[in-house]
């Protein structure tokens, strides 16, 4: 039993083991964000999908340029050059690189402009859903009790609602009068529940951690604990969820547009283009392939990037990576 006392004496006599007795680290310190970023930078899939996303964003930004180069307006109809004498849309050729639609409009220009709607709606409804989900999920998980019961049931109700039926009902109610804001509202309403549920679960486990108890013992208030102590631990899953929510929102938007709920007709939109293409895909394959391909490429790129982001935040990958570099 005395041995512990002896040991203490012994240690006390070794100054190099005591206070300030170790060397400053030689290895450069890397935070978890830095490690995730490094991993992402070296991930070929992440780079590839980022390039695709940048290209699509470029399409959206430079859509007027495409319009100027081809000389075709976004919704101008070219009955003479865009349609054959029989009234069938012309296929890809010099004047119409991606062909024309049944009204003689340039599909390339319309796909470029359509990227604007897809990206805008996709990113903003994902952001709105994540923001709402984080706030409500944190409130539910942190305060528990009645607040939790009420909010958790709300998430369940939202998740249980058949959104397609709801969308069809909405189409019937407001028809073609929908706008981009209604799109965003509908999409984020149907998406926030899943985020909120995940956040709530995370908060439930984080709030039992000893460092949260430590924050309480220092006298921290609820808001401080939520935003300074809990929120940073939610950031990684939330970023991952956001990056996976963007493509699903884009698909959701296309679905709504396909059903007739979305931006009003003359404005080009991938979903509504696909809907119009239904009657024409047999002779005019380009009518389906180009907007459909753009939609596919966008959602695939966002999904792959989302997967890579998730991998980058996964601690197992962190460790693997740390071994590679050291």
């Amino acid at each position: 039993m005395s041995t512990f006392g002896e040991l203490v004496e012994e240690v006390a006599q070794e100054p190099q083991l005591g206070a300030a007795g170790y060397e400053a680290g030689v290895i450069e310190a890397k935070g978890p964000w830095r490690l995730a970023w490094d991993r992402l930078r070296h991930d070929r899939v992440a780079i590839g999908s980022s390039v695709v996303i940048v290209l699509i964003a470029g399409m959206a930004v430079f859509a007027p340029l495409a319009s100027a180069l081809t000389g075709h307006g976004m919704d101008a109809q070219y009955h003479l050059t865009g349609l054959t004498s029989a009234g069938v849309p012309v296929g890809p050729r010099a004047h119409f690189p991606w062909g024309a639609d049944e009204e003689g409009r340039d599909i390339l220009v319309r796909v470029f402009y359509g990227a604007r709607i897809s990206l805008l709606v996709g990113v903003s409804s994902a952001a709105l859903a994540v923001a709402g989900g984080v706030v409500l999920g944190m409130l539910a998980g942190f305060f528990g009790g009645v607040v939790d019961t009420a909010l958790a049931r709300l998430f369940d109700v939202v998740l249980a609602m058949p959104y397609l039926v709801f969308a069809l009902a909405l189409v019937a109610a407001i028809g073609g009068q929908g706008g981009i804001l209604i799109d965003i509202a509908v999409i984020s309403f149907f998406s926030f529940g899943a985020v909120a549920r995940i956040v709530r679960g995370q908060v439930l486990s984080i709030k039992e951690k000893e460092y949260i108890e430590a924050a309480h013992s220092l006298g921290a208030g609820s808001l401080r604990v939520m935003f300074i102590d809990i929120f940073p631990n939610l950031l990684a899953p939330v970023i991952v969820y956001f990056s996976l929510l963007v493509p699903s929102s884009i698909v959701f938007e296309a679905t709504l547009a396909f059903l007739g709920l979305g931006v009003p007709p003359p404005t080009p939109d991938w979903g509504s283009m696909l809907q119009e293409a239904i009657n024409w895909y047999n002779p005019a394959w380009w009518y389906v392939v180009f907007p459909g391909g753009a939609l596919l490429a966008t959602t695939l790129a966002f999904n792959l990037l989302g997967d890579s982001v998730r991998d980058a935040f996964d601690p197992r990958y962190n460790r693997l990576f740390a071994r590679e570099t050291e």
């Binding site: 039993m1 006392g5 002896e6 240690v11 300030a20 430590a214 013992s217 220092l218 631990n233």
Partner: protein
């Protein structure tokens, strides 16, 4: 139990009058502190009325400048008691007085000024530091929460603290994951000391550490006590550690204090059979000595705190138990010719030098101070 060269004189003697019967400079007083946790479950229709009796009627006084050791097996309610002291948990009944002021029923916002005076050091150096925050910001938390210092001033004071606890102040911007267990515990110590508290409740501060690192941290705590005039409540299941650091020791068993004494009294003349059993479970690194010494064992498992035994809670496992032990709850009082500071709750206290009868072979579980020991039974 072997006597080493370091038998006498506690490592840290504050301004304590040894063994005074009155209340010289009582900093924290617990009066009948009780904490029950309701058990979830029961039937679908009826809620269960069971409760875990984590802490049951504990009276304790912590004197200014001393180190009060709190020992007991896992599940004896030490940590719950610590959280009642620091008012991290609401009490079921009883009172907590800090410097004579009743802080039992204060709300969270009202407690804030007291948080500055009472701080905790936590057991798990991995769990008690937020992995997503930098060390500088973790240690600077108390300054931010109590609006004591910010900006460059906060950084300067944080680095001062890091230096004080033996961390390199240049590591201000690192994450907890970049430190070893011992260093992390130093971070926890720095955070607890930031606001110069009067009382530090250390909940198993060294249990998670390697033995050599353990000694470093124990030394650090002792040095800081001398330097800053701190009062400690030191919770541990390791009797050899508590013996080294404490002025007084309270032994807990299933939510109650069964013996309270000055350090050397407790080790020289343990009165409660449970204390004796705990002492005999301290491992001796010398195998020859270990073979020779009498190992007392208590039969059976630690009883369920949901349904604690009647009378003396130790009676089902006690080698000296008599029928009365199951019926009458023993009071915590002075036994034999002990000084007034030595209290034990036992109907049949051990006389000086009395050994406990050895438990019979068969279904025997060792009472050990730690988790592993309990499982080994």
């Amino acid at each position: 139990m072997s006597q080493g060269p370091r038998g006498e004189g506690p490592r840290s003697v504050g301004a304590v009058g040894e063994g005074g019967g009155d209340r010289p400079g009582v900093l924290l007083e617990l009066q009948g502190v009780t904490k029950h946790f309701p058990v979830k479950g029961g039937g679908f229709w009826r809620k269960s009325h069971d409760a875990v009796h984590a802490v049951d009627g504990v009276d304790l006084q912590v004197r200014r400048g001393e180190t009060l050791g709190l020992v007991g097996e896992t599940g004896s309610g030490k940590s719950t008691l610590a959280r009642c002291m620091t008012r991290l948990l609401p009490l079921t009944s009883g009172r907590v007085l800090l410097d004579g002021e009743d802080i039992t029923d204060l709300k969270r916002s009202q407690l804030r000024p007291y948080r500055r005076r009472v701080q905790m050091i936590f057991q798990d150096p991995y769990g008690s530091l937020n992995p997503r925050r930098r060390v500088g910001s973790i240690i600077g938390d108390p300054f931010a929460i109590h609006k004591v210092a910010d900006g460059a001033e906060r950084k300067r004071r944080v680095q001062e603290l890091m230096d004080l606890v033996g961390l390199n102040p240049e590591h201000y911007n690192r994450f907890p994951a970049e430190f070893s267990g011992g260093q992390r515990q130093r971070i926890g110590v720095a955070r607890a000391l930031a606001l110069r508290p009067e009382l530090v409740v250390a909940d198993e501060p060294v249990s998670a550490l390697d033995v050599s690192v353990r000694a470093q941290v124990v030394n650090l705590l002792a040095d800081l006590q001398d330097e800053l005039g701190l009062t400690y409540v030191f919770i541990t299941h390791d009797l050899s550690v508590v013996r080294h650091v404490s002025n007084r020791v309270a032994v807990m068993y299933v939510g109650q204090v069964v013996e309270l004494a000055d350090r050397h009294d407790l080790y020289a003349t343990p009165r409660h059979p449970y204390t004796k059993v705990l002492q005999s479970a301290i491992p001796v690194p010398d195998p020859e000595q270990s073979e020779r010494r009498a190992r007392v064992q208590a039969s059976g498992e630690l009883p369920s705190p949901i349904n604690p035994p009647s009378g003396c809670r130790f009676h089902p496992r006690c080698p000296k138990a008599q029928p009365i032990c199951a019926q009458v709850v023993p009071r915590l009082e002075v036994k034999f010719q002990d000084p007034p500071s030595h209290l034990a709750a036992c109907h049949f206290p051990l006389a000086d030098g009395e050994e406990l009868p050895r438990a019979e072979a068969g279904d025997v579980a060792r009472v050990g101070p730690g988790d592993g020991d309990r499982r080994a039974g």
